[in-house]
Symmetry: C2
Subunit: 232 residues, 2 copies
DNA sequence: TAACATAGAATGAACGTTCGATCTAGAATA
DNA sequence: TATTCTAGATCGAACGTTCATTCTATGTTA
């Protein structure tokens, strides 16, 4: 018998047949223990390269016991993805709660870049994106989280720009957000492709781009007559 | 017996025990056939999710026969990576041979973005980066190619900037190149995370960023007093 | 005929998963 | 308090499957 998928809020919602609340805490801890081990294994071997045996070994329990907590390997992958994305969505919520959002965002972007360029973090994130490119269920989870984060970013940009007396239409704000997101996610890829890359310098670069986007008077005024080659 | 790793220039270099030149053509064609099938399988299942059986089926030959052309699965992965990266390096060489490098680069960037954001292309590229994050040999190949491309990009930027009468130190040129690379690679990730994203708009954005980098009078004059939070 | 191309069965290892047995700690009972 | 009961936690062996790889036999071509 396995534990049904539960909310990741940490504490289970009340249930009729709960016997001892302490059991819930233990179950959650065990699940977290498995997820920690799995994240490490996935990092070093990829989702399909990591075996249940290796995960169970790192988690300090038998292979069979894993199936008390997760239906199958797919469910572990899904849970890892979910947990990771929820962390980011939570961080966005915190950021939006701050006052002086503009400066907070600039400061956060630096810390975020340094965090994201850390090799293991970048590795797992890229692994998740790669899995999303082929696993529809993971894709759905990833896209839902992305939607959430991008909405936050767009809202933040709108606030900051309006505070600065600039007026942009919706599509422009989306463009700004996508550019920032691309730079941020691109830096993870760069960290893997070029390990010599100076992370601090890139963090400063990210801040500069962010300030530039916030400060540019009329974003759409830039040359529009770009050469777009036809697609085949 | 398997065919030793060979240069992917298409034609084999002369060798003492070459019997019939026509064999080389057939062998090369067979290898390409396997690589095409493998690329497709890797795209849909990942490097470790794709089986030799599925690759052989798509290539229209028996599983065992694959081992006439490749030592093992790892070698197929390596060859895929190599072929893909060589394509990019070749493209860079072509670009640098053009006159009016600046405008060519701006135009290329657009075409490049549209190509890179194409779902299967982005998927395979991300897969390669993910593999590089954990497979040291793939990492070496990826980094060598990256080095090559970045050197080209830096050289191109130097030429363009000097032509425009701007003078930058080496570190600044590296920064510019890394930002462009991050944006470019980030857009691949964005295409996966957000399939609703308008590729054409992003291509235009890419051009705008590129023009901005080319045209900015003094890149280092921008605010340097950025807030860099301490890392733990 | 000699050398190579190809298929397909065979092999052993590794995998995800299942399952019955054992352990443990707390509840119930005497 | 001492004993029994019980349900969940945990293990480790076993299963069937799939995998990468090897081997053998049979075409095919020059």
């Amino acid at each position: 018998m396995y534990v049904k998928h539960m909310t990741s809020s940490g504490t289970l919602p009340f249930d009729d047949n709960v016997v001892a609340p302490v059991e819930c805490g233990r179950t959650a801890a065990r699940r977290a223990q498995i997820l920690d081990a799995a994240a490490e294994c996935f990092r070093s071997g990829g989702f399909h390269g990591a075996s249940i045996a290796s995960i169970s070994q790192l988690a300090g329990m038998s292979a069979g016991h894993i199936y008390h907590y997760f239906e199958n390997k797919e469910a572990i992958i899904a849970a890892i993805v979910q947990r990771d994305l929820e962390r980011i969505v939570t961080m966005w919520a915190e950021l939006r709660a701050s006052h002086d959002i503009g400066e907070t965002m600039v400061a956060f972007s630096s810390a975020g870049v340094l965090e994201a360029m850390n090799a293991p973090v970048a590795g797992l994130n890229i692994e998740i994106v790669a899995e999303a490119a082929r696993n529809p269920e993971v894709a759905r989870t990833v896209r839902a989280a992305d939607c959430c984060c991008m909405a936050s970013l767009i809202q933040t940009l709108r606030t900051v720009r309006q505070t600065g007396g600039k007026h942009d239409d919706e599509a422009t704000l989306v463009d700004m957000a996508e550019i920032l997101a691309a730079m941020f996610e691109g830096l993870m890829v760069r960290a893997i492709r070029n390990p010599m890359l100076d992370h601090q310098r890139m963090a400063i670069m990210m801040q500069r781009v962010m300030r530039h986007i916030i400060a540019t008077p009329d974003w759409e005024a830039a040359p529009q007559e770009a050469v777009v080659p036809g697609t085949t």
